[in-house]
């Protein structure tokens, strides 16, 4: 099983090394044919408007939508969460997403860079205590559909109670960046999800 990391822009290297540390085979994906060769995908942190534009210009958006609709396991962090949403609030008018997870995500919801923060998040399904999460000009999830599991919320501070981790079937998204912390629990969780899906497909 091979896990791709969408490498149009953003902190690709951090995700590749986190996946490698979880004993997954990971490689960057920039082109449609590279997407064909992976079984699961991580969409990294970065600038979602840039990723959206490049995904359209290089013909990756439609193939990605098809794979997402077809059940490919995908994990998105921050910009990746925005890319996975069915609805993007405070985005650009021409911003495209993959419409995978039935949720409305508000871009830069926690504020500008001076409001970026790190702090604890409890995540359902991830043992070992609260996850030390890094939020950078981060989005939050404003509302979710019935089929979406809310896995985590901010526990303290001005953003307390906001939804920042969700899962819908094979799709996982966090508003924060586990790839920046050295804590591999979210990546392990995703690698397990991807392996389980791989088994089912046979």
């Amino acid at each position: 099983m091979i896990i791709g990391v969408l490498a149009l822009q953003g902190d690709v290297r951090e995700h590749l090394s986190a996946l490698a540390e979880c004993d997954a085979i990971a490689r960057p994906v920039r082109r449609p044919e590279e997407l064909d060769s992976v079984d699961a995908l991580v969409i990294p942190g970065g600038e979602s408007t840039t990723m959206s534009k490049l995904a359209i210009d290089f013909g990756v958006l439609e193939p990605l939508r098809k794979r997402v609709a077809g059940g490919m396991p995908v994990y998105g962090s921050c910009a990746g969460m925005i890319m996975l949403a069915t609805e993007v609030l405070d985005g650009r008018p021409d911003q495209q997403s993959l419409a995978g997870i039935d949720m409305a995500v508000r871009r830069n919801a926690f504020g500008r860079q001076v409001d970026s923060f790190e702090g604890p998040v409890e995540i359902d399904g991830i043992d070992g205590g609260p996850f030390h999460a890094v939020f950078i000009r981060a989005p939050w999830v404003e509302s979710v559909g019935d089929e979406v599991d809310v896995l985590g919320r901010v526990t303290e501070g001005p953003g307390a109670g906001r939804i920042v981790a969700v899962r819908q079937r094979n799709l996982l998204a966090t508003a924060f960046h586990p790839e920046l912390t050295g804590d591999l629990r979210v990546h392990r969780y995703f690698v397990e999800m991807a392996r389980a899906a791989d088994m089912t497909e046979g």
Binding site: A7, L8, Q9, G10, D11, V12, R13, E14, R30, G45, G46, E47, T49, T50, K53, L54, D57, F58, C78, A79, D90, G91, R92, R107, N108, R112, Q113, V114, D115, S116, F117, E118, G119, P120, E122, D124, G129, P130, V134, F135, I136, R137, G152, R153, V154, T155, E156, G157, P158, G159, G161, H177, L180, T181
Partner: protein, 305 residues
């Protein structure tokens, strides 16, 4: 799990930490940051796929042509740019001018460039960047300079190049120099790192970290003289993690198209077919000045120490 406070080991949310500041730069990687002087230009940059814009009063080519003291931008102009786009906005403060930096932070800018492109305000000290919540990017021509800036709290480094020229040669020199000095450190036995630190005029702890990891502890972008998609791609192949483009876009014939082309060439920096494709029909690049023709006292890269 929502309303309960979590376990006692958890800490309250913290802003302005080194991780949050450096992490912001990680999110810009593989992207292009464009100099803009008006909200309209900022829109063009965002439309083209820029990951951030740098708000300034005059692009370096004009600063060079017009002379005089160059300062932080008018707060109204910075506000206008912040309101025009949804991507991060950076702004420049003069080297050592900590009050300009305080003002820029108060305006809600996402990153401050303590920049040699503006006239320095202090010829001895740079800004104490640890004292700020907003992160800083600083220029460097070599590894020692980069590590001194990081020691002062810079969360991102850009090689300097020679801004406002459209001549990429100094960007190349500075990127090669920084990378070469990093490679050299990784080859040294640990007992030689003390002298290496002395020679680099950089703190030993940072020198040891670079020797162990083979990279700077912060993101390294390139800047200064980048004018074409091929320039951007070359700097990426030389090891830059992203690109600042100053005068190269809005001093060129067709800014929107050139901006989009440089964005694509930065993502596909190792694919000559893509670079060739996006380089077609861009119209005129900025005219440019050869760095050699600029008298040494007028070279911006020499500012900062």
């Amino acid at each position: 799990m929502s309303e309960q406070t979590s376990s006692p080991s958890s800490t309250a949310p913290a802003t302005g930490t080194a991780r949050v500041k450096r992490g912001m730069a990680e999110m810009l990687k593989g992207g292009v940051i464009m100099d803009v002087v008006t909200p309209e230009q900022a829109k063009i940059a965002e439309d083209a796929g820029a990951v951030a814009v740098m708000a300034l009063e005059r692009v370096p080519a004009d600063i060079r042509a017009q002379g005089g003291v160059s300062r932080m931008s008018d707060p109204d102009m910075i506000d206008g740019i912040i309101n025009a786009v949804s991507i991060p906005v950076m702004a420049k403060a003069r080297i050592g001018h900590f009050v300009e930096a305080q003002v820029i932070q108060a305006l809600g800018v996402d990153y401050i460039d303590e920049s040699e492109v503006l006239t320095p305000a202090d010829y001895e000290n740079h800004i104490d960047k640890w004292a700020f919540t907003v992160p800083f990017v600083c220029g460097a021509t070599n590894l020692g300079e980069a590590l001194r800036r990081i020691n002062e709290g810079a969360a991102m480094i850009r090689s300097k190049g020679e801004a406002g020229t459209g001549d990429v040669s100094n960007a190349t020199t500075h990127m090669r120099k920084i990378r070469q000095e990093i490679r050299r450190l990784t080859s040294l036995p640990s007992d030689e790192l003390y002298v290496a630190a002395k020679e680099l005029q950089a703190p030993y702890e940072l020198v040891r970290e670079v020797a162990a990891t083979g990279k700077l502890p912060v993101v390294l972008f390139t800047a200064g003289g980048i004018a074409t998609p091929a320039d951007a791609a070359m700097m990426m192949q030389l090891g830059a993690e992203g690109v600042f483009v100053g005068s190269g876009i809005f001093k060129a014939g067709n800014p929107a198209q050139r901006a989009a082309a440089i964005v694509k060439a930065t993502t596909f920096y190792d694919d000559p077919d893509v670079i060739a494709k996006v380089s077609r029909g861009l119209g005129e690049a900025m005219v440019g000045i050869n760095v050699d023709d600029i008298p040494v006292p007028h070279r911006l890269a020499e500012r900062g120490w």
